[in-house]
Amino acid sequence: MIELHQLNKRYTAAKGVPVPALNDLSLQVPAGSLYGLLGPNGAGKTTALRILCTLLAPDSGTVRVAGIDALTDPRGVRRLLGYVAQEVAIDKILTGRELLQLQGDLYHLSARQRDRRMAELIELMGMGDWIDRRCGGYSGGMRRRLDLAAGLLHSPQVLVLDEPTVGLDIESRAAIWQVLRQLRDGGTTVLLSSHYLEEVDALADHLAIIESGSVIAEGVPSSLKAALGGDRLTLRVREFSDASEAATVQALLRDCPGVRQVVVNQAQGYSLNLVIEHDGVVEQLRQQLATADLPVFALAQSRPSLDDVYLQATGRTLMDAELAVAGSRDPKAERKASM
């Protein structure tokens, strides 16, 4: 349904240095799937979605939606897409109903079509109590629901959502998740970006991991997890360790038989993430630590998770990737590019 092929895009940052946002990014979203785009902030997810939604032209590469080329027939693509942006753009002065009416006219619905869809969506999103109040007084969850309803008003074949649940309360998040699942079950192709592992894990039947503007892993979550094999251990020698102690433990355990990998997880108080071949390895590790006179504060074992898929693909956890990019972004330049 959606094909992004070798997209490249560079931004010019404040000092005039070009910053690559997308680097030969390619993606294929099957029709009727709920596709998750997972990656840390700044990985290029928003840029890819903005290009897909014809808000931004790529420096090179092709974009096709249902066979329509977004670069030569952007209007054809716009008709098929519903887009729910990361920053909810709502006119504070209008009521929710007036915003939906405006949206209906922008998509050239007839008054009858529009009113029927609005009634459906107001019920679906549970907006009946406040839809006639002005948007300025809405909470974050209400705004997000209204925005989602606006994106769905013209019954798009493809719904694109950029970080749909950032900053939302649990109830609103669950409500939005449920709507997205219903949409997928009804045949709508849903593409969403997220930097929440559990969101992609809970929702997506397909996913791509994006890092530094490229897709580094793609597939069905269960197969990606199964393909990793082995079990995961999270080890903490103390509640809050430090870099040097973590390095010591890492060196100590790295070469134990049955241990495939030891990674320091800085974001989780310098805990250690291990990949082990089988259960028996755990006891050996305990003995190793006892011999070296190191305590064990916590030791947790689990099957591979999506975080492990991420770790395997990038060599660091998603949290650490977030910390690493946090300082290197230029929010002002990004904001300017989005105007």
């Binding site: 008709r79 897409l81 079509q113 019954s155 074949q157 449920q178 045949g187 105007m339």
Partner: protein, 288 residues
């Protein structure tokens, strides 16, 4: 959160039938215009300020030279009467100069992106909606000023004169709105836009024939005033107020030659057309 699920069983509009381009353009333009009027209705302060400010000009400035020697002004008219045309034009001009602000805020708050991802038949609808809104707003304001001026005894242009006044105002409003919308897409943010509006506003008023006739000005200012688009709007309106409706009558003796009302209107029309053409590349950069 139950009920029917939206599906592709409801086909996307436009995929099945193709309404005419004109019908689609008017649907999107009217919807966008309606939004601007709803904003005005719920936040009427711009309208109130837009009427109050010129009224204050008219009352205070009109009284400023009440005791000036008779016969000082061309045609022997009172200063209040002379000033009327200037204040009317200035009102329309100020309203139009602010036309870009809502568009700039839409850019900054991301609302413009909502419009840009929609399959608008023509993105000129966004510009057209602003033009419709500002034109009606400035005409309402100008008519309020004209009515007040009439009550103050500064005269009323009459039927044909009113037509001439409104035509002149329309042309000026189109030109200035184009300029302001162009700036709204070219400048980085609303601070810069407000700064430009602030800097442009009063100097353009002072360097025109709104407050004083050319004969009061030094040569260099006279030249400036005779090139100022505001003057090209003020003089035909002033002539209309004086009962002079002929397009071939001279309304201004500029340093470079005499100007007729017809010439003034043609210059304004040319300016409006030129500015719309000039800002097209700016709009296209953002709007195609």
């Amino acid at each position: 959160m139950t009920s029917a699920t939206p599906t592709i069983a409801n086909p996307s509009p436009g995929a099945t039938d193709q309404p005419s381009a004109l019908a689609e353009i008017s649907q999107e333009t009217l919807a966008l215009t309606k939004r601007l009027f709803l904003q005005l209705q719920r936040r009427p302060s711009t309208l109130v300020a837009g009427v109050l400010q010129p009224l204050i000009w008219l009352v205070l400035f009109g009284a400023l030279f009440a005791k000036a020697p008779a016969g000082l002004l061309p045609g022997g008219i009172s200063y209040g009467r002379f000033l009327g045309a200037g204040v009317i034009v200035f009102t329309a001009f100020s309203a139009a100069l602010n036309a870009g602000l809502p568009v700039m805020f839409d850019r900054e708050f991301g609302f413009l992106n909502r419009l840009l991802v929609a399959p608008l038949r023509s993105r000129s609808s966004i510009v057209l909606a602003s033009v419709l809104y500002i034109t009606s707003l400035s005409l309402v304001q100008s008519l309020a000023i004209m009515a007040t001026a009439a009550l103050l005894g500064y005269g009323w242009p009459g039927g044909v004169g009113l037509l001439l006044v409104l035509t002149t105002l329309l042309l000026l409003v189109f030109a200035v709105t184009a300029l302001s919308l162009g700036l709204a897409f070219a400048l980085p943010g609303h601070i810069e836009l407000i700064a430009v509006i602030f800097v442009a506003n009063l100097p353009l008023l002072f360097a025109s024939t709104a407050l004083a006739p050319l004969s009061f000005m030094p040569n260099w200012l006279g030249w400036l005033a005779s090139l100022n688009p505001l003057t090209f709007a003020i003089e035909p309106i002033r002539a209309a107020y004086a009962g002079q409706f002929s397009l071939t009558a001279v309304v201004l003796e500029a340093p470079y030659g005499d100007l007729t009302a017809g010439t003034c209107l043609m210059v304004l029309a040319g300016l409006a057309a030129g500015l719309f053409l000039l800002i097209r590349p700016l709009l296209d950069r953002k709007l195609t």
